[in-house]
């Protein structure tokens, strides 16, 4: 892999004549029927970008509504807005974001394979995603859903007047999309590695997508069956979640969070993977404590299955259940903390440069640390009794999901952009966007911690006037954030046509994906690579290519 630290002063690199973007043809049909993991990754990127803007639009309207205590929209519209925001962002953006785009594109490249194990399944997974997405949009357009993304019974099953069954069907279908992706990644990681690519030579990105996939495969079916039970209960008026029929609404919450808490780790583990690639590359140093980072991902994936009831400390679970689940939640905070320490230690005595991917990565570490630390607050029994269902919780999970995962997503997008497109993005614009996102994010969400401790409840379209000041801060931050998120859309789009040619390895990075040309050929490698060394063998020199 030393060859990866490429000859620095080569001529203006030329685009590879044979690459996946053109090799199979450029017709729409050749894209829609493709089995190439890289093309499917592009299809995913386009579709999740669409949903990111749909969910973002809803978020903008939510923040707009909360500028005044009385609210601007009617409560019915507001309830539909945050439900839309939640469903779209959780299932149609965050869960597929990194795995289905970068994971799809990079896992085969990183392990030296020609494709995922099951290319047709991969395409099917995208079609399921798109079908489910249309179903969700259809439910929204004909009237929307007002249950929140959590679908709590008996409100969702008997009282809500929205199109709950359609929304449930959409989530059910997108669940199978993520099961198929997870299955594909697990099998690929086990069976498709190039000669010499042992488990401990895998990049952390592959490891963390592997851990994510395990959760996808084992948790998602439970969500599927739970949502199905709610749908049947709503249609036939018989079911096990309604107390009037002899059922138990807490049973729903247990089943729902049995999926939805591990789903939080589906949403953040791939982010850990991206950061673990970027930080060593721009610090020109091997990742500190590789095995600890790897095993903390696996630990998180496993322990993540046993903490779900910490969402239910005031829901009516027993005192002892509360004590146990809180303890386990503190246990799972440890591996997350280990990762932060390891990334920080990787910086120690490095040769650090601050290109846009690194700015996003540093932003990620900062925001994730705040998100993780406030996780200690909400995992704390007595504290949670005060702040659960308030903006404190909202701020906490946005720090993880948006501050963490979306920063990682953008970091990864910039880092691998040259590989995917063969072009460099404009560096200064990218740095400005990274800074805008970091500051806009903090301005939006930090005030929400204060609001939450003051007692502002979530899902309120109107609120007592004493909360207004902090809400105005938050909404102001949201507009900065909106600009920060819109910027990449423009300059990355521009770079597709005008960006400088990237060459195969603009960051002088290690890793098999940088050994093939940019964009890679359809079959990834001209000759199946043989791996002889562990990952992240970074050296301080030579200077990276001009950027």
């Amino acid at each position: 892999m030393t060859t990866a630290t490429v000859t620095g002063k080569s001529d203006e690199p030329v685009v590879a004549t044979k690459n996946y973007l053109t090799e199979e043809g450029v017709t729409l049909r050749s894209w829609l029927l493709t089995k190439d993991h890289k093309r499917i990754a592009i299809l995913y990127t386009l579709s999740i970008t669409f949903f990111f803007f749909v969910g973002g639009l809803a978020a903008t309207l939510i923040r707009l509504n909360l500028v005044t205590p009385a609210g601007i929209f009617t409560p019915d519209i507001y309830n539909r807005l945050f439900t839309l925001h939640g469903i779209v962002m959780v299932w149609f953006f965050l869960i597929p974001s990194i795995p289905n785009t970068m994971g799809n594109f990079l896992i085969p490249l990183m392990i030296g394979a020609k494709d995922l194990a099951f290319p047709r399944l991969n395409l099917l997974s995208w079609y399921l995603y798109v079908g489910a997405g249309f179903l969700a949009l259809f439910a929204i357009l004909i009237g929307g859903v007002d249950t929140g993304w959590t679908f709590y019974t008996p409100f969702s099953s008997l009282y809500s007047n929205g199109y709950v069954v359609l929304a449930l069907a959409a989530v059910f279908a997108v669940g199978f999309s993520s099961i198929l992706t997870g299955l594909n990644f697990i099998v690929t990681t086990h069976r498709m590695r190039a000669p010499g690519m042992t488990w401990y030579r895998l990049p952390v990105f592959v490891w963390s997508n592997y851990a994510t996939s395990v959760i996808m495969v084992l948790a998602t079916p439970v969500l599927a069956i739970t949502l199905m039970l709610v749908a049947v209960e709503r249609l036939l008026r018989v079911g096990i979640f309604d107390p009037a029929l002899g059922g138990d609404p807490l049973l729903f919450q247990h089943l729902f969070w049995f999926y939805s808490h591990p789903a939080v780790y589906i949403m953040i583990l791939p982010g850990f993977g991206v950061i673990s690639e970027i930080v060593p590359c721009f610090a020109r140093k091997p990742l500190f404590g590789y095995k600890f980072v790897v095993w903390s991902s696996i630990t998180i994936a496993i322990v993540g299955f046993f903490v779900w009831a910490h969402h239910m400390f005031v829901a009516g679970i027993s005192l002892y259940a509360g004590l146990v689940f809180s303890l386990l939640s503190y246990v799972i905070a440890v591996p997350s903390a280990i990762k932060v320490f390891n990334w920080t230690a990787t910086l120690h005595k490095g040769w650090i440069s601050f290109d846009a991917p690194m700015l996003y990565a540093l932003g990620f570490i900062g925001l994730f640390t705040i998100g993780g630390l406030t996780g200690l607050f909400v995992a704390n029994l007595a504290f949670d009794v005060h702040v659960t269902d308030t903006y404190f919780v909202v701020a906490h999970f946005h720090y993880i999901m948006v501050g963490g995962m979306v920063s990682a997503y953008f970091g990864g997008l910039h880092y691998w952009w040259p590989k995917v497109t063969g072009r460099l993005y404009p560096e200064w614009w990218a740095r400005i966007a990274a800074l805008l996102i970091f500051f806009g994010f903090n301005l939006t969400f930090f005030p929400q911690f204060i609001l939450g401790y003051l007692g502002m409840e979530r899902r309120y379209y109107s609120y007592p006037p004493e909360f207004q000041v902090w809400n105005i801060f938050s909404s102001a931050g949201a507009s900065v954030l909106a600009i920060g998120y819109a910027l990449p859309f423009f300059y990355l789009g521009w770079s597709l046509f005008r960006g400088k040619r990237a060459g195969s390895n603009p960051w002088a990075a290690t890793g098999l994906e940088w050994q093939t040309s940019s964009p890679p050929p359809a079959h990834n490698f001209d000759k199946t690579p043989t791996v002889t060394r562990p990952p992240y063998q970074y050296r301080p020199e030579p200077e990276p290519q001009d950027v």
């Binding site: 998602t220 029929l245 138990d248």
Partner: protein, 218 residues
């Protein structure tokens, strides 16, 4: 069958046919892990119901058609046996035996579905279908309705799995007849077999939970 074994070229992402075969069966195992959790959610709901209303569940269990259920258990177990035998035949390249055994397996699957349909019909006439025509006078009526709600859900979803399995086996039988498999290449048969055994095992769990618990007490 004396002709040289035809091994289809592996798909482009695989280096060798062995790699493809191993990958396929590993993929099926991972899929079955998903399935376990899928049924697990429903079984948890069942466990909750039984723990909360033990008497009602026991009474509901006594309404179930144990004769049909037991015959069906036997049918499905036999089909698993013929499936295992079919895989064995494939391993030894015995094409005719393979075709016949797959046909018998598919037929047993159909028989299972037929009996299940008859059972559903009887339950319909006895007003045991929740949400549609349920009527019951017992003090445990509510619990019995919930029991039957889970019963139809569990057996219905299991039935869908059986139907898919029959489809797969039928395809395998046709391909076997055309000589698609030989002792070097029979991965699809093996993977289908894995799936069929899983469907069978699910039933092994459902049978006692549905038919026997209500009758176990005094």
């Amino acid at each position: 069958m004396s002709d040289a074994p035809v091994i289809p070229r592996p798909e482009p992402q695989y280096a060798t046919a062995e790699q493809q075969a191993e990958t396929a069966s590993f993929g099926m195992w991972v899929f079955l892990a998903t399935e376990v959790l899928f049924f697990g959610g429903m079984l948890l709901a069942y466990t909750w119901l039984r723990a909360t209303y033990p008497d009602g569940v026991a009474e509901a269990g006594r309404h179930t058609k144990i004769v049909i259920g037991s015959v069906n258990t036997l049918v499905l177990l036999t089909s698993s046996f013929t499936m295992a035998w079919a895989v064995h035949a494939a391993e030894h390249g015995r094409r005719k035996a393979l075709t016949r055994l797959l046909a018998v397996t598919a037929f047993l699957g159909l028989l299972f579905l037929g009996l299940k349909g008859y059972e559903y019909h009887k339950e319909w006439t006895e007003h045991l279908v929740p949400g549609l025509n349920f009527h019951e006078d017992s003090v445990h009526a509510q619990t019995i309705e919930l029991f039957y709600f889970l019963y139809f859900l569990l057996t219905g979803i299991h039935g869908i799995h059986v139907t898919i399995g029959i489809g797969l086996i039928a395809v395998m039988a046709v391909r076997a007849r055309r000589g698609a498999f030989n002792s070097h290449y029979y991965t699809p048969v093996e993977v289908t077999g894995l799936y069929w055994h899983f469907v069978d095992i699910v039933w092994i769990f459902l049978y006692p939970l549905i038919y026997l618990v209500g009758r176990s007490g005094p």
